[in-house]
């Protein structure tokens, strides 16, 4: 299966999962036995032979169960906020971007989280193909880390090549007509059953009370019609503009196979064009939507023409 990850052949740069796994276990055991952290969040083997599942290791013995391989597609970021006290996390580059975002938004205390940052050239999802978030991912190196675990197991990141990109959203570019883009959007949204799994899995969707769950004022109805689907997805997209770290967790959990990445890729591209900002890179930078600068361009989110 590993072959599928090496489509961008660059000789000499190979990710050694076994060596990385060995390093992760060593670091985790050390952190737990020295009581530096209370829990290490990582991956463990799944009993039924599926992709590795979350592990919350609380003792050096439990840390022995930590695994790291190309099937570790699950997104651990939603768990980072759950624990009081000190936690260590086995973080892929996308997870580290979520951490940066959560720190920037005062949701996590930097000193409470110890980051085992993994260099990662992409992982495979449950169907054995490159996970949605990995398609076209440009950061194979963690954005933030305490303990680096490079692709060869060393401490110096060697710079893995980006996993291959896709052209799933090529028909959503500026050249296509408004009608085409609208139809493309509706075709995608039509599959949605409004179960809100995407929201639950998203590390950026941490509101205590989501607008769709509010009954007084009733912003949103649960009956599954196109209007409600559009309202949910566009509102969520607006809330995540400049905050989405393209981890792909939303698309990975969608029971109906809605290609959410195509919406968020477009939004991220827009934010980058307009504000020269990418979420999850630097916790000290003000976020695109929470700050105002006289030099901000005034094109509006919709580029002045609507969808």
């Amino acid at each position: 299966m590993g072959d599928k990850l090496k489509q961008n052949d660059s000789p000499g740069v190979v990710q050694d999962f076994e060596e990385q796994e060995r390093c992760i276990r060593l670091i985790a055991k050390e952190l737990l036995s020295s009581d530096t952290v209370d829990v290490v969040i990582g991956f463990q083997e799944d009993d039924i032979g599926g992709s590795p599942i979350p592990l919350f290791a609380r003792s050096p013995e439990q840390a022995e169960k930590l695994v790291w391989n190309e099937n570790c597609w699950r997104n651990l970021a939603p768990y980072f906020k759950r624990f009081d006290g000190k936690v260590a996390v086995v973080a892929k580059p996308c997870d580290t971007r979520s951490i940066v975002n959560l720190i920037a938004e005062n949701q996590l205390e930097r000193e409470n989280i110890t980051i085992i940052g993994i260099e990662c050239g992409g992982v495979l999802n449950r169907d054995g193909v490159l996970a949605h978030g990995c398609l076209g991912c440009t950061s194979t190196v963690p954005a933030i880390w305490d303990y680096p675990v490079a692709a060869d197991g060393g401490k110096e990141f060697i710079g893995l090549p980006s996993p291959p990109s896709t052209d799933t959203f090529v028909d959503f570019n500026a050249d296509s007509s408004r009608e085409d883009r609208r139809n493309r959007f509706l075709r995608e949204i039509d599959k949605c059953i409004l179960c809100y799994s995407c929201r639950q899995a998203c590390p950026g969707c941490y509101c205590e009370s989501c607008f769709v769950d509010r009954k007084m004022t009733n912003w949103h109805q649960r009956d599954v019609d196109t209007g409600n689907k559009i309202a949910f997805h566009l509102t969520r997209a607006m809330h995540l503009a400049g905050r989405c770290v393209t981890c792909g967790a939303c698309e990975n959990v969608c029971p109906s196979g809605v290609s959410l990445k195509y919406i968020y890729d477009e939004i991220n591209r827009f934010i980058e064009d307009q504000y020269d900002f990418r979420a999850g890179i630097n916790a000290d930078l003000p976020s695109a939507m929470n700050s105002f600068d006289q030099t901000d361009r005034d094109t509006g989110f919709l580029g002045g023409e609507g969808i």
């Binding site: 039924i48 599926g50 997104n75 768990y79 169907d127 059953i193 799994s197 639950q200 899995a201 959990v253």
Partner: protein, 347 residues
């Protein structure tokens, strides 16, 4: 029992004749995923040995169903939908229909659910066995035979080498309906057909039922350990063939209020939230407990069937890697242990 032997194309032709009077639902592959789908062309039907991703419960219990229209002129009930033929249903999903029949019937509390039964009464179920067990499936542990279920109206067996379909008509009242097939009629016992019957090992049946003191279970089982990685997304309940909790959502348009019955999920915090802000199941620990015990204890107590068919869908789909079977086995180990230790104390 009558058995029809026909070529695959004759089977497809016969199904094609049903479209006028019936809604035909069968497994079909869309974007690589096999799922129970509305069929408009028999060629869409994919009877491969694979469990469809979602369960067929939507046929009987839709995600959203308008149950009433209330206006100044009175209260109106939407028309009864077209009868449905469900083809290629796996034994686990057939067992799930049995569970839903019990839950929605008078047996469970004194009312029957009319919206469920008006669909159920006109539903024709054509089952099909599994050949191989899929990762995560555990129907055998619940005493469900993956090759056959007699809770269906007819059953298909396919001879892939010769492209032949055998249709076993289990319910005599459908013999005339199935005469539309251009098929050779065989009697059971004929040397040309292999006998199908239930090969359930009775000794394993119901061995996953949880039977212990409710108060003790609530307090002494480490529910938080099982549910630690839960994301509260509710996928498990959406794709489960037996999850049946619902809520009403009213939508008003131009003076007409539609009361929609929508699926709800015990895994959502808002499921039991009172208007006052009080929540009897405040954390994921309680919500996962409700899900497990509702399936393995409450429904068995009230309707005498386990509300889980071991289809393994929730295990395979869970983004957090929760495993209901592992939880149930752990609970059983613990309750058996506590019973034993209590007995020892008595001695």
């Amino acid at each position: 029992m009558i058995i029809l032997k026909m070529s695959r194309s004759a089977f497809h032709d016969g199904i094609g004749k049903l479209f006028g009077d019936y809604r035909v639902v069968a497994p079909s592959r869309i974007n690589g995923t096999l799922d129970y789908t509305d069929i408009v062309d028999p060629a869409q039907i994919d009877l491969s040995d694979e469990l469809p991703y979602k369960s067929p419960k939507e046929i009987l219990f839709p995600r959203v169903e308008t149950i009433l229209r209330i206006s100044d002129d009175g209260i109106d009930v939407p028309d009864t939908p077209k009868p449905t033929i469900l083809i290629g249903v796996k034994p686990c999903d057939i067992t799930a229909i049995n569970v839903m029949d019990k839950v929605f019937s008078k047996e469970n509390n004194k009312f029957s659910d009319p919206y469920y039964f008006r669909r159920r009464e006109s539903l024709i179920v054509i089952g099909m066995g599994c050949v191989h067990k899929k990762p995560g499936c555990f129907c055998d542990e619940l005493g469900i035979d993956m090759t056959f279920s007699d809770y269906s109206d007819a059953f298909i067996s396919i001879d892939n080498d010769n492209n032949i379909v055998f249709l076993y008509i289990l319910d005599e009242k459908y013999e005339s309906l199935f005469s539309i097939f251009d098929a050779q009629v065989l009697e059971s016992g004929s040397p040309e057909v292999s006998e199908i019957n239930s090969r359930v090992n009775e000794s394993t049946t119901k061995n996953l039922r949880i039977d212990a003191d409710e108060k003790e279970l609530f307090e002494e089982i480490p529910w938080e350990l099982y549910s630690e990685s839960c994301l509260e997304c509710g996928i498990c309940t959406y794709i489960c063939p037996t999850c049946h909790c619902f809520e009403f959502r009213d939508v008003e348009d131009c003076g007409v209020t539609c009361r929609n019955r929508c699926w709800d999920s015990c895994m959502y915090p808002s499921f039991t939230l009172h208007a006052s802000g009080h929540n009897p199941r405040a954390t994921q620990r309680e919500r996962f407990r409700q899900r497990v015990l509702h399936k393995y204890m409450y429904v068995p107590k009230n309707c005498s069937v386990i509300a889980c068919t071991g289809c393994g869908r929730c295990i395979r789909a869970c983004p957090g890697g929760l495993n209901i079977l592992r939880a149930v086995q752990d609970i059983l180990d613990r309750t058996i242990f506590s019973k034993v230790s209590k007995a020892e104390e008595c001695v």
